[in-house]
Amino acid sequence: MIKSMNSMPSAIDSINNIDNFLDSLTERQIATIKVGLAATISKPVEFIIKFNGQVISQQTLSASLEVLNTFTVDCNKENTLELTLEGKGDTHTIVNDQGEIVEDSFVMLSKLEIDSYDIFADDEFINNNSTYTPVQTFYKGFWHNSTFSLTIKTPFIDWYNQQTTRNTRVVSDQEIQGLDTAKMNNLMGILDKMER
């Protein structure tokens, strides 16, 4: 136990409960989610955004458009964000004699951001934490009636940063994330020897 000589809160005290201190930095039970859509529409379709089963946005897309949906949601320990395309029928897609699609309705995902983290660019994270039904692979777009479902755990900052591999790579001897255990223990030993 590293001792502090004064009664004020201090880093010296916090270091004894480092996990509590670090947790206190990320206590947040809400998330701000941004969903950007780029819709190409020949006939209307429905696009629904749900969070933990609750509809937070339902849009009838009747013309081609780009739209950014921003919403703040209360989070549980484990949460589900669902993006669903509905209402696409047999007449939405028109193919000519050469087999080329000449008319269609589809919605591309153009942005997916959670608490400022660019999830859209993190393919590995999306692949590991989402499902897309009934089609298996999600190509960041909806060409069929389908649902993209992403699992989000909280505290999101902690969970996401553990999951992701983006810019976590050590690229040289001088770029390291931390000191090894022996060095860290040595520093803690140094602290222990100091009175104030």
Partner: protein
């Protein structure tokens, strides 16, 4: 016999090429003298078997008062003497870039005097006119009187220097070699302020020994700084801010690229955006080159100050990106507005986030420098700092912030506005590191180290690529090993 051999010595950070000797050699060679330039920091790294951890551990020798010479250090000094014997010169120029090279300069000049070398010794650099870095000298080495003197005066009094050039030596070295020395009233010390920009002479530099992800050359576009932050001694070292025109810098860069075939450049400036107009001029020329040479583009990097967006010229970020600006080193320092204000940074946390967003939108990457334990930093301020680090994470993950420096705990350097603060009490045995503020007495060295360890934990938990953590670790360890009991006594008296 050539006219001069000019070199730099440890303490050395291997991620940067020490350009000073190469620039001075370039000036001499352009004036028809013969000279060579070396950076002997790389020689020591080579003698350490290119083991980076051993290298930093060995370098602690230059910052410690240990009296026994390390065998690697002894070999290192002998190697330098051998090189000087292989390259006999009328003058030997030694760079004293910072106080951290006081010990190595002291010891190598002693060995030069003891050898058969008859060269005259010129010392120069920003660290020369500073008070002796006493943390590196035992009481047996320097007398109590010498320990209070400027390093330049000690070297002159001991006959270890024939000429002392305070500050930059572009002008003075030429005059000395020409035999056209202008002495100031003290008789010995020369000052130089001419901002020459020769083609540096890197012929004897061992580029492969630098720890650079991508090989690059240094270039200098300005000296000094437009700010006067309280922890920083740049204003005292370099005086008022001076700059070259954007056209002139671009011309040198294109010339160096042609001569050495290196496409990447590192500005040695304290900041590259001191004069935005000249920066934009420079960027436009290089952007034009890059447009015409899409497979052979130039890239550059440098240090940057964060300004509020209202001060930013219109297309600044756009031209930086087009000219190959990347990896800018931004002195963020603290994530607490209160501390930034006390530092006199003239910016705030919001401005930093605004700038990061601009960098992200324009694809400009950066490294953020931080440190903990500023004399004004309370524990609550420290928590704000930690929370800001967490808020930066999205930019780390996107790669806009490619790495961060957790930094050392705050140094109280000579020549900084902070040490003029009468409420700061510095210890006599380690004034740079062991100090306390009357207004913030709980911010002790122990508390500062604890804060530094917590930041380290944040880096680990959130997988933040950190820069140069080993160097910080060794410095803390060295301080404790050298002054453990004295530190306890100092803070006991301060309470």
């Amino acid at each position: 016999m050539i006219d001069a051999v000019i070199f730099s010595l440890p303490y050395t950070n291997l991620d940067q090429i020490q350009s000073g000797p190469a620039v001075l050699s370039g000036i001499l060679n352009e004036n028809r003298f013969k000279s060579k330039a070396f950076d002997f920091g790389t020689e020591l790294f080579d003698l350490c078997g290119r083991d980076i951890e051993l290298f930093y551990e060995i370098q602690n020798y230059f910052l410690s008062p240990v009296s026994k010479t390390n065998p690697i250090i002894e070999k290192f000094y002998q190697r330098i003497i051998d090189i000087l014997n292989e390259n006999p010169a009328r003058y030997i120029g030694v760079s004293v870039f910072t106080v951290w090279s006081h010990r190595s300069v002291f010891e190598i000049t002693q060995r030069i005097r003891q050898s058969n070398l008859k060269s005259k010794i010129i010392l120069g650099g920003r660290g020369l006119g500073k008070r002796v870095y006493i943390e590196a000298f035992s009481k047996d080495t320097l007398s109590s009187h010498e320990r209070k003197m400027k390093f330049s005066d000690v070297m002159r009094a001991r006959g270890l220097a024939d000429h002392n050039v305070l500050g930059d030596g572009e002008d003075s070295i030429l005059k000395i070699i020409q035999g056209n020395i202008k002495k100031n009233p003290t008789g010995e010390i020369l000052e130089s302020d001419q901002f020459r920009s020769p083609t540096p002479n890197y012929e004897n530099y061992q580029f492969d020994l630098y720890l650079q992800n991508e090989r690059h050359l240094p270039i200098t576009g300005s000296k000094g700084c437009v700010r006067d932050c309280d922890f920083c001694d740049i204003r005292e070292q370099f005086g008022s801010y001076r700059y070259r025109t954007g056209d002139n810098i671009a011309e040198e860069m294109l010339r160096l690229k042609q001569q050495y075939g290196i496409n990447k450049f590192l500005f040695t400036d304290s900041l590259v955006n001191g004069n935005q107009k000249e920066l934009i001029n420079f960027c436009n020329i290089i952007a034009d080159y890059n447009k015409k040479n899409p497979t052979d583009k130039i890239k550059w990097t440098g240090q940057w100050i964060c300004r509020p967006q209202r001060q930013i010229k219109d297309n600044l970020y756009e031209v930086i990106a087009a000219s190959g600006g990347e990896g800018l080193t931004v002195g963020m320092e603290s994530g607490s507005d209160s501390v930034l204000d006390a530092m006199n940074k003239k910016t705030d946390v919001k401005a930093m986030f605004d700038e990061l967003e601009q960098f992200r939108q324009h694809g400009i990457t950066c490294t953020l420098l931080t440190f903990v334990g500023h004399h004004s930093e309370t524990f609550d301020n420290f928590k704000e700092h930690c929370q800001t680090l967490i808020r930066i994470l999205p930019y780390v993950r996107s790669g806009t912030v490619s790495a961060m420096a957790a930094g050392d705990v705050m140094f109280m350097l000579d020549g900084t506005p902070a040490i003029k603060n009468p409420d700061i009490i510095r210890s006599e045995f380690a004034p740079d590191t062991i100090w306390v503020s009357r207004f913030n007495p709980t911010n002790t060295y122990k508390e500062r180290i604890a804060r530094r360890i917590i930041v380290q934990r944040i880096f680990e938990k959130y997988k933040i690529p950190g820069v140069n953590n080993y160097g910080n670790y060794h410095h803390i360890e060295k301080t404790m090993r050298s002054y453990g009991d004295q530190i306890n006594e100092f803070y006991a008296l301060s309470y």
